[in-house]
């Protein structure tokens, strides 16, 4: 399986990361190596194998619909990099 620099750039945008030219080369290099290694899984025939997403078969962890206290607004906002009295603040969601 081949992975190009352009592919890596696309993935970086999806992952909201950004690399400079050298960083991109290095990342591409490392990813190609790792992907070549993990490709050894394709040796195995897994046609009839059920995927296993959880380590254990646990089901039905359901909680009753009973309210518990929320955090104070101060506690909710106290770690915010930018905030005002009421809200988190982020760069404009829309617009240029």
């Amino acid at each position: 399986m081949s992975l190009t620099r352009q592919d890596v750039e696309k993935v970086a945008l999806l992952a909201r990361l950004k690399f400079n030219e050298d960083g991109l080369d290095k990342m591409t290099d490392h990813m190609v190596q790792i992907i070549q290694y993990v490709d050894k899984l394709s040796e195995l025939d897994t046609e009839d194998v059920q995927p296993m997403a959880h380590a254990l078969d646990i089901y039905n962890a359901l909680a009753e619909d009973e309210p518990r206290p929320s955090l104070s607004r101060e506690d909710a906002l106290k770690n915010a990099p930018k905030r005002d009295e009421e809200c988190f603040r982020v760069p404009a969601v829309l617009g240029e």
């Binding site: 399986m1 992975l3 592919d7 890596v8 993935v11 970086a12 945008l13 999806l14 992952a15 909201r16 990361l17 950004k18 690399f19 990342m27 490392h30 990813m31 190596q33 790792i34 992907i35 290694y37 993990v38 490709d39 050894k40 899984l41 394709s42 195995l44 897994t46 194998v49 059920q50 995927p51 296993m52 997403a53 959880h54 380590a55 254990l56 646990i58 962890a61 909680a63 955090l71 506690d75 909710a76 106290k78 770690n79 915010a80 990099p81 930018k82 988190f88 982020v90 760069p91 404009a92 969601v93 829309l94 617009g95 240029e96």
Partner: protein, 500 residues
């Protein structure tokens, strides 16, 4: 013999008999940290004041003859991945440098409720991604047995502090070997419980379906004591299992009869350090001399463990770490720079996306970014089936190997690592070499089974060697008893590193 060289179990007896106070004990450890942590770098933060205050409060409680918890004044070191209310919790990352969670992890609550004294926060690979603790944004940790070498990782600080007598008990996390491998390289005991045995609530997630919190200590008995405190069902964690917690510390000294141990032949031979092979083979002979039967078992898919792990873990991590985007907490890049960039390059990328990308590229270290990239790629359109889905299927095959093995044997015995602690910087530029460090440990995480690492020898240059025992889900009690049998018959766990 100084008090800090005694085991936690011995210290607990002294505390209970009134010969020792928690303040004295805590102070002794604080002094040791003061003396040796400059060379080791196990702690990111030592919480001197609050530790002494907790110790004093517990002594006070004892004086009034109020019932005390199971730890009753014993100090505990905590990996900096567990949320502690209104206290910095960094996960070894620049991203969370100023982060103070508004809540406590369940295990932190449990340690407090058990009257444990929280000594401080131990160093780790950023977001628990690494096998050498070289990926911390803050400092490296040195192996107390040879400070030019790594302590293992990601719970490197957690293992090193126990090994250098800076804490009797320590809490780590294990996603692919992160408790067992540093325990082996630092010469202490570390246990990864069955997935679901210990609540993950408040554990900053790396790979949610693999992460598990566990104890590190110098002896099996002490490990049993701490596990007893950490384990138990938690309604706040949907993956926490409703199983009663056995009294590990009470049964740990009962030897197991008719113990059958499984040996996987391909664990030996090519690729493993001969000194490690010899030490592990001798440990197997010790078990035989204690009456255990040895059976050779096949784990046909074990060789695919690393490949499976390095798909599943990065996939989950890429999603778990999406929340670090500079919007609601943690690091955010300088807005003025974003605005300047916008003006300069005139591409159509908006200010919000720029803020995200810049924040994440500056806040995360290289290894974390690599795993986010891998996971994002493996989950993306057109690759999901070939990578992620395939890995989930092989994970099932690995689990089936374990199930078949545990039909035949009580436990699987083998090495923890192929090599002893390596030199600082030796593998930092070769991620694949670093990933292979987890060769013998990742399969337990993939299958969800329990595993323990305990000292079983030293290399000729004096580096510790670890022995791994793995048991079927929820068989920690037997695992501890089997480990204790070995420890009672050997003295590797009593040797201490020499730090000036």
């Amino acid at each position: 013999m100084s008090i800090i060289q005694k085991t936690a179990t011995e210290q607990l007896a002294l505390l209970n008999s009134g010969e020792l106070t928690s303040v004295e004990l805590t102070q002794a450890y604080l002094n040791q940290i003061e003396q040796v942590d400059g060379q080791v770098g196990a702690f990111l933060r030592v919480e001197t004041e609050s530790a002494l205050a907790q110790a004093a409060a517990i002594d006070q409680k004892r004086a009034t003859e109020a019932p005390l918890g199971k730890l009753a004044g014993l100090p505990v070191a905590i990996k900096d991945i567990l949320c502690t209310k209104d206290t910095p919790t960094t996960c070894g990352s620049r991203m969370l440098e100023n982060f103070q969670p508004p809540y406590n992890a369940t295990v932190v609550e449990k340690i407090r409720a058990a009257d444990g004294v929280i000594l401080g926060r131990t160093n780790m690979d950023e977001f628990a991604m690494g096998s050498s603790t070289e990926n911390s944004a803050y400092q490296t940790t040195q192996n107390p047995w040879d400070t030019a070498r790594i302590p293992g990782g990601s719970s490197g600080g957690a293992a090193a502090c126990v090994s250098a007598d800076m804490a009797p008990l320590s809490v780590g996390t294990d996603t692919g070997g992160s408790i067992r491998q540093p325990a082996a390289l630092c010469g202490c005991v570390g246990l990864k419980p069955t997935y679901g045995r210990v609540s993950r609530y408040g554990l900053i997630a790396f790979a949610s379906s693999l992460d598990q919190i566990g104890p590190l200590a110098r002896t099996v008995e002490d490990t049993a004591l701490l596990l007893e405190v950490l384990a138990g069902h938690d309604p706040l964690d949907s993956t926490s299992v409703k199983q009663p917690t056995p009294a590990y510390s009470e049964t740990v000294k009962q030897p197991l009869e008719n113990l059958t141990l499984g040996v996987v032949d391909r664990h030996f031979g090519a690729g493993i350090d001969p000194e490690i092979e010899t030490a592990v083979q001798s440990a197997i002979q010790v078990y035989e001399s204690l009456g255990a039967t040895i059976k050779h078992i096949a784990m046909p898919h074990a060789d695919y463990g690393i490949a499976t792990y390095y798909i599943i873990a990065p996939c989950e991590a890429s999603s778990n770490l999406a929340r670090y985007d500079g919007a609601h907490y943690g690091y955010r890049t300088d807005q003025a720079e974003v605005v300047a960039e916008l003006a300069e390059d005139g591409s159509d990328e908006g200010p919000l996306v720029r803020m995200y990308r810049k924040t994440r590229s500056e806040g995360f270290g290289e290894e974390v970014q690599r795993r986010i990239m891998l996971g994002t790629y493996a989950l993306s359109e057109g690759y999901y089936d070939a990578f992620y889905l395939k890995a989930l299927k092989v994970r099932r095959l690995i689990r089936q190997d374990y199930d078949a093995a545990f039909e035949e044997v009580d436990m699987i015995i083998g090495p923890v690592t192929a090599n002893p602690a390596f030199a600082q910087g030796e593998k930092t530029s070769d991620p694949m070499a670093m990933y292979l460090e987890d060769l013998y440990t990742v399969t337990a995480n993939l299958a969800g089974v329990a595993g323990i690492s305990l000292p079983c020898g030293f290399t000729s240059s004096g580096l510790p060697i670890g022995l791994q025992l793995q048991a079927a889900p929820f068989q920690e009690e037997k695992l501890l008893r089997a480990a204790q049998m070995y420890q009672a018959a050997t003295d590797f766990h009593t040797r201490r590193p020499e730090l000036s």
